[in-house]
Amino acid sequence: MNRSMRPLLATVAIFLVAYAAAVFQFPGLLSTRVLGNFLTDNAFLGITAVGMTFVIISGGIDLSVGAVIGFTGVLVAVLISSFGLHPLVAFAIALAVAALFGAAMGLAIHYLEVPAFIVTLAGMFLARGGASVITQDSVPINHEFYSTISSLYFRLPGGGRLSFVGLLMIAVFVFGAVVAHRTRFGSYVYALGGNTTSASLMGVPVARTTVQIYMLSSMLACLAGIVFSLYTSAGYPLAAVGVELDAIGAVVIGGTLLTGGYGFVFGTFVGVMLLGLVQTYIIFDGTLSSWWTKIVIGILLFLFIVLQRLVFAASARGDRSSETA
């Protein structure tokens, strides 16, 4: 078995066990309604996390995604409500802006040799600030296109809904998995995460790939912003604050190493579902105060990480121990 598969399998196993345990306590969790909600409610997070997976596999990080979601929502809302553009046109404009934004960050990371953490932090300030310069209010979007989309869903037996945005997220995951694991671009991404010098000597176009990675991340964050605006029919400059940390958390819980080079897009999917499960569990429980909610989320995060390490360590024991320390 491939060594790098192990954290992924560990995550899947943990998810299944955790879900089973939660269902045992609250049988209501095993309904199509809850499952449908898992997809719909986490769609924007999932889409963001796909982009984040690429960034992290390449050894980088993108702190700007939450702000890009907020910015996109505001931009789209203003374009539709104030300028009367068709949503699809507004989407295209937003995606183009996001692509430029991501490209600028990628260029800065590569040519200025500033760590991604800092470049994307500045990007976060810029996007968040840009959104509040456009408007400070939350801008409602009243367009029939929006109502059409939100009425697009499959009804599942048992009252659940398989919504358009949920399906879109799945499509993005499939797309992400194919790109990561089945294209040359994908192999370049892993190459950068493995060792940038080696990658460059092996003929990987490092500059181009770096720029493409951050473009991809920003564009997926933008798509997530569009989904968020569909989800709420509005744009709000403070939307999705802190989503970057959720996305990073999902990616890492999904078995991708923050140091780069290893990871699976599908793992991220499981990571997103795990986070969703934790939140749903806390809601079903309904007795946790604000502070206990934070503490419990922290504890669960800790347990997942430790569990993953244990599973990883147990299965890696036989290997040539290359990591000394």
């Binding site: 060792n195 080696s198 092996m202 003929g203 080079g261 036989g318 290997d319």
Partner: protein, 509 residues
């Protein structure tokens, strides 16, 4: 140079790092169907020239021509498009990806725009077979030893090279069989008309393979000649600019009197790493460790040094049992260890040469007895000089030194701790003839000073040259301990090669 039909040519290239002229107006031409050896001391500028020829560096002067046309190679990818395949000095592959992907990265076979993994793995298997390597192409490259990675790097370069193949010290971590296979491959590529550059510090290999040689010294071109016009001594003189006395492969002068026992490993071993071994080491003794790649020599060293602590057996120092659970324990007992993978486990790339040299001693002194800057400079200067480390300044980052000089820095680091027992894992890998002789001399000197050493090496001649005893590893097990008369290349090779049937020593024991 009268020939004009160069496949690839560098005309008057220069490269300046800061104030250091790594290359100074060097001309270098490659003919189709030749093996061209590029020789020079550590730091002579060989790797730098290669990097310019392959677009990894941009020259500060001069030009590069392919088939007579001046080209501007702006990246290794660009060079690849001209059919130039390269193995760089340090294995530059991706340990996190599969073997097959490392072979084909950037050129993966695709179907409908998607990478066709099945075919890629199939092709990889076929390709590697040529080098006698039967490993799972979908396995992670990092899970294989340096040697395997080296072979993969070679296979990748060969497969990318339509016109020119450049090999920068490809044989440094290969054993005889593998070197032989590589030579066969090179010979056949030569017949196919490729121009091949070959960098090595092994003169035997130069004479076995090369048609012409180019010699660099201190970044300047010394000479380009047909090999047949040169003798071994000529070569060395041109490289060093002076004569050196060859110590030759004379075995130990005489049986020296057995001195005090320093260390005794009894049934020492570690599960899944190395089978229990028993070894007594005396003061003033060099124990050579021979074995095939992957035979567990490195593992043995790691267990001795406590990096992978033993889970069986005992060890005694000067007759008193000690326990070695971590590297710090070993160091506290006066051990030292130069690891085999200098990039990953040895050097601190961003730290200065000075800091790299003092760090082990400082580690021994602890957190609060800091050596001040002057003491550090003294120490670094002293050991830098005795090891003949070529660095523009002791304060430059060690990563800017040539590979051989980095190796000397690590050796100096341990000598500075004044160890009683030193383990050297492949200490001469990638080191030029001058330095090689230097290190062998150092080993001998240390032994005469009463230090005990364990030296792992794939160079059997070298092992013979300095060992008081030789232990042979096979399949992670110590299978033989040779001494006296038995320390000869023939016996060692036989002990390594013997499969199944016990060696004479074992039956005797």
């Amino acid at each position: 140079m009268a020939e004009t039909a160069f496949r690839m040519e560098a005309r008057g290239v220069s490269k300046i790092f800061g104030t250091h002229r790594a290359l100074d107006k060097v001309d270098f031409g490659l003919l189709a169907g030749e093996v061209h050896a590029l020789l020079g001391e550590n730091g002579a500028g060989k790797s730098t020239l290669i990097k310019i020829l392959t677009g990894a560096y941009q020259p500060d002067g001069g030009e590069v021509l392919v088939d007579g046309e001046p080209v501007h190679l702006d990246s290794p990818l660009h060079a690849q498009s001209f059919g130039i395949g390269t193995v760089y000095q340090e294995v530059n592959l991706l340990p996190n990806r599969s073997v097959a992907e490392n072979l084909f990265l950037g050129h993966q076979p695709t179907r409908f725009g998607l990478v066709d993994r099945k075919r890629m793995n199939r092709d990889a298997r076929v390709l590697l077979k040529r080098y006698g390597l039967e490993i799972d192409p979908s396995s992670e490259l990092g899970s294989h030893s340096v040697a395997v990675q080296q072979i993969v790097a070679i296979a990748r370069a060969v497969q990318l090279s339509g016109k020119v193949l450049i090999l920068d010290e490809p044989t440094a971590s290969l054993d005889r069989d593998e070197v032989q296979r590589l030579f066969e491959v090179v010979a056949s590529l030569k017949r196919d008309g490729l121009a091949i550059v070959f960098i090595t510090h092994f003169l035997d290999q130069v004479f076995a393979l090369a048609d012409r040689v180019t010699i660099l010294r201190n970044g300047k071109l010394v000479d380009t000649r047909r090999l047949s016009e040169l003798t071994r001594t000529d070569l060395v003189r041109k490289m060093l600019g002076k004569d050196i006395a060859f110590s030759g492969s004379t075995s130990l002068e005489a049986q020296r009197p057995v001195t005090d026992v320093l260390l005794e490993f009894k049934g020492y071993g570690r599960k899944r790493s190395v089978r229990p071994f028993t070894l007594t080491i005396h003061k003033g003794e060099v124990i050579g460790v021979a074995g095939l790649l992957g035979s567990g020599r490195t593992e043995m060293a790691r267990v001795m040094f406590g990096i992978d602590p033993s889970d069986e057996g005992s060890v005694a120092l000067n007759g008193k049992p000690i326990s070695i659970r971590a590297a710090t324990d070993a160091i506290a007992h006066g051990f030292g260890f130069c690891p085999e993978d200098r990039k990953a486990d040895g050097i601190f790339g961003d730290l200065s040469v000075r800091e790299n040299i003092v760090i082990a001693l400082q580690g021994k002194l602890g957190w609060f007895r800091a050596l001040n800057r002057d003491e550090q400079l003294d120490l670094a200067g002293q050991f830098g000089e005795s090891m003949d480390i070529r660095a523009a300044s002791l304060d430059m980052p060690v990563k800017l030194l040539s590979g051989g000089n980095q190796q000397k820095v690590i050796l100096a680091r341990w000598l500075a701790t004044d160890p009683a027992f030193l383990i050297l894992d492949e200490p001469t890998r990638g080191i030029d003839v001058g330095a090689h002789a230097e290190i062998v001399r150092t080993i001998n000197r240390l032994r005469d000073d009463g230090m005990a050493l364990v030296v792992i090496s794939s160079e059997i001649d070298e092992v013979v040259a300095y060992s008081s005893r030789v232990v042979v590893m096979r399949d992670r097990e110590m299978v033989a301990e040779l001494r006296g008369e038995d320390i000869s290349p023939a016996v060692i090779v036989q002990a390594i090669a013997t499969h199944g049937e016990p060696t004479p020593e074992e039956t005797a024991a």
